[in-house]
Amino acid sequence: MVYYRPHGNEIAVFETAARRRLPVLLKGPTGCGKTRFVRYMAERLGRPLITIACQEDLAAADLTGRFLLEGGSTVWRDGPLTRAVREGAICYLDEVVEARSDVMTVLHPLTDDRRTLPLDRLGVELTAPDPFLVVISYNPGYQSVSKELKESTRQRFVSLAFDYPPAEIEAEIVVAEAGCTAEVAAQLVKIGRGSRNLRSHGLGEGASTRLLIYAGQLVLAGLPLFDACEAALVGSLTDDAEMTKALRELLKSVLGPAPGR
């Protein structure tokens, strides 16, 4: 079973939405556990999960499918979305605002009461079975004007707002995921939370839980704690020289001076 540590009512909300066949929108900062949560829920509900990482070249045809040549004849190959509809899977579109706008158009009939997927090239319209569920995620931080989630899309989803978990729970997650000691995890979480205080005060984002886990894994692999934090937390958060210094000072404040420096 995929590890997921709940820290609110997200499981209950998701289960209810899934039972009522309502699409779900997850929003929250990077690395706070959105994707892990979907994997966990798919396992919990016993449904297959098809994940699509959206990027700017992702078009509707990439989702629905296309004809391919196979030995001189044409063969239809389902795209991931079509496959999810046929299998009654959970289709998870990660960072959906990155995709082209026609992707949203394909999603619309699947996310209202019609729950259908028209396949023009095949001349058919698939009706989604009950277990099929669309889940999308995005990070509502600073976006380009060309990459906003339209109101018409947003209002088709039940939304779950994610944030970084409380300190004790986050330390628990770091221990479980990285395998480091509770003491190390507590120090990593303290650094992580400190860096998040700088969110929009100098840093675009604070350290994600994922980064804290990386640091924990580096420590477990034998790297000194300070070096692990410097590698996983400082460099990944900013290129700004002054903010880098400030983050290093934070490391020193929590961990003490780095040995040999």
Binding site: N197, H201, L247
Partner: protein
């Protein structure tokens, strides 16, 4: 040359003058501790200062070089946004911390550590609420000995808590007392020798200052030792009272020994109760004024009437509202038909009065409309006829018909040298902005499905083959091409010129506009700059600094670099008008950037919810016609995010906590928006 030696009384006076308040204003008693003063003078002040810590031109590390780094660190450690100001010695007013502009000469590697340590002490005072209680502050203000003793004990307390929370701080903070600069003892700005410190004081400095020449404190130091022990074991509950209690006990002990105040280590800074008390006193005074009723409002009305009452301008038969009528109007009761505004209820006495006096009460009739508003009634700065805009009344759920009128006069002008000065002073930033904007000049991307191109579009080729195999006519657009085309973006930037921007903010807006304009010149995109401020709902001025069709010339440069602030922020009207200027642009993407320093507010009823909801509606209207509105806010209020989200939507505004970064952030925001 050594600085003049000041008595404690003079020092206090200097401090008060620096902050512009007097003890009498605060209702505080003058210092009466003559005995302590005498002891102080005898013990310390007749000694020549060993080292002048603020030494004029020569200095160590300057704060401006590390200010961002320090602010980042303190914010991360404290969890609240920490602002840093300038003061020597370091201090706090509970809102921000103040650090010296520079460390004493010469520059040493530990200078940064000293800044950190001094900042942590002051931040600790405010973090743990040691300087909040008015009674405590009054006691500290009136007694120099008590203040210094309290300071030393409080310093121990906050340093202990910092180290408990962040154990890594133990080592660097433990180094500070050994530093010559950090461990220097001072009475305010005057250095005093470390040697010869009375034994009664010595235990207070344990962990804060180190001096090899101090002997054993003996029994004289018992009281201080005991106080130190108490504080080292004290918990957070009622800690300010505990500290004062211990300090008072020590004070009596020092009095018996005929000792003055213990000097403070340089890195401990100073406590300035008068800074905090004066803020509290002002708050109290404002609150009392408010409790007295609407007297300030009446004073405002009278003042406005006095200022605007020009003989002949006011019609002789202009009816003046009685107090009862004004109250009825405010409470939503039947307003006088002769004087009710076009959109009915909720008006403000100040506004009525101002209009009556400045424009004639006849305008404010129930039938006020373009037809009844004669051109002569409202004098305009240019020939611009203005344009009426409806205003959204959220409470009533209706638009107020033609409630605002926006003019677009030319902005104020001034010397061309102002522009050149800004360009000269910001040359490095400008180069960076130009270089970054250069990269935005064209849009580069692969375009598939072309009849001709540098590469085969594999997807399309496969589709064509499958079509052929299926007996269908294939599409012959089988190539992909790398295209570079000019961006189709029009951008209008409008900056807040309301009265609140006067001073530093206006100066920053000016710099931001000049840097942005220089960057946009490189880019060659159609763009316009406007400034906004209104003196009346029907006199909203969207000052043209540079129109879309205007070329850069001296007149434009002069307007961009010589902004003038005046009036209020009826933002809904300005956004509607700016959106209408963008709406007619042929470009496919139209962006409106609003730079503002606060809530949409006007003197009249355009406050609170009404202003916010109308502006939110104006933003929604702009979006409906394809104009993207983005706000760059420099509102220092903590709760500003709530109204900014409501007006502009999440992710459609950026709140700058460091207002000084505005000139750099404005071009960056633009780059993010179109990039």
């Amino acid at each position: 040359m050594p600085a003049p030696i000041l008595t404690p009384e003079e020092l206090q006076k200097a401090t008060m003058e620096e902050y512009g308040v007097t003890g009498a204003e605060l209702g505080l008693e003058p210092e009466d501790d003559e005995e302590a003063e005498l002891a102080l003078l005898r013990r310390f002040l007749f000694a020549a200062p060993q080292r002048q810590l603020t030494s004029g031109e020569r200095h160590g590390l300057t704060l401006d070089r590390v200010q961002r780094q320090l602010r980042g660190l303190f914010t991360m450690l404290d969890g609240r946004r920490v602002d840093i100001g300038h003061s020597d010695p370091a201090c706090t007013d509970n809102l921000r911390i103040y650090l010296p502009k520079a460390m004493p000469a010469p520059e040493e590697p530990d200078d940064l550590l000293l800044f950190q340590a001094a900042g942590l002490v002051q931040l600790g005072f405010s973090r743990h609420g040691l300087l909040v209680d008015r009674g405590v502050l009054r006691e500290l203000y009136g007694d120099w000995v008590l203040r210094s003793t309290f300071h030393l004990l409080a310093m121990r307390y906050v340093l202990r808590l910092w180290v408990e929370e962040f154990p890594g701080l133990a080592e660097p903070l433990g180094r500070v007392p050994y530093s010559e600069k950090g461990g220097a003892l001072r009475v305010n700005l005057t250095s005093v020798p470390r040697d010869g410190l009375p034994g009664a004081f010595v235990p207070l400095y344990e962990g804060l200052v180190v001096c090899l020449n101090w002997g054993a404190p003996g029994t004289e130091g018992d009281a201080a030792r005991q106080a130190v022990r108490t504080i080292d074991q004290a918990g957070p509950i009622g800690i300010a009272a505990v500290l004062v209690g211990q300090a008072q006990r020590l004070r009596e002990h020092f009095r018996r020994l005929r000792l003055g105040p213990p000097p403070l280590p340089f890195w401990g800074g100073i406590i300035r109760p008068e800074w905090i008390l004066s803020d509290l006193a002002r708050d109290l005074a404002a609150e009392n004024e408010w409790k007295k009723g609407n007297r300030p409002l009446r004073q405002l009305i009278d003042a406005m009437a006095r200022r605007g009452a020009v003989p002949g301008e006011k019609p002789p038969d202009a009816p003046r509202l009685s107090l009862k009528e004004r109250l009825m109007a405010r409470l939503g009761g039947p307003a006088s038909a002769a004087t009710g505004p076009a959109y009915g209820r909720l008006r403000d006495e100040a506004q009525v009065s101002a209009r009556e006096v400045r424009y004639g009460a006849a305008e404010w009739t129930a039938t006020a409309s373009p037809a009844t508003l004669t051109e002569g009634a409202v004098s305009k700065p240019d020939e611009d006829g203005g344009r009426f805009w409806d205003e959204w009344d959220d409470a009533a759920g209706v638009y107020r018909f033609e409630a605002t009128r926006v003019y677009t006069p030319e902005g104020a002008t001034g010397p061309l040298a102002a522009y050149e000065r800004i360009v000269e002073a910001n040359r490095p930033q400008l180069q960076q902005i130009r270089r970054r904007f250069e990269a935005l000049r064209v849009e580069e991307r692969w375009v598939g499905g072309q009849p001709d191109g540098s590469e085969v579009d594999l997807n399309r080729a496969i589709l064509a083959l499958t079509d052929l195999a299926a007996g269908q006519d294939p599409d012959d657009r089988l190539f992909r091409r790398f295209v570079r085309r000019k961006r189709q973006v029009a951008i209008l930037t409008m900056v807040d010129l309301s009265g609140s921007t006067l001073g530093h903010v206006l100066h920053l807006e000016q710099t931001a506009l000049v840097l942005f304009a220089e960057g946009l010149k490189t880019l060659g995109l159609p763009h316009a700059f406007y400034g906004f401020g209104n003196t009346h709902p029907l006199e909203c001025n969207l000052f043209r600094l540079k129109g879309f069709d205007e070329r850069y010339d001296d007149a434009v440069y002069k307007r961009l670099a010589n902004l003038r602030a005046n009036g209020a922020t009826r933002m809904g009207a300005f956004i509607r008008h700016a959106a209408s200027l963008l709406e007619v642009r042929p470009e496919t993407r139209r962006i409106l950037i609003v730079v503002s320093d606060g809530k949409p507010e006007d003197r009249a009823e355009y406050r609170g919810r009404h202003g916010i909801r109308d502006t939110a509606m104006a933003v929604a209207e702009a979006r409906r016609v394809g104009v993207h509105v983005f706000c760059l806010s420099i509102d220092p209020e903590e709760g500003a995010d709530a109204y900014l989200t409501e007006i502009f939507g999440a992710g459609r505004y950026l709140k700058l906590d460091d207002v000084d970064t505005l000139p750099v952030r404005l071009p960056e925001v633009f780059r993010e928006l179109v990039g």
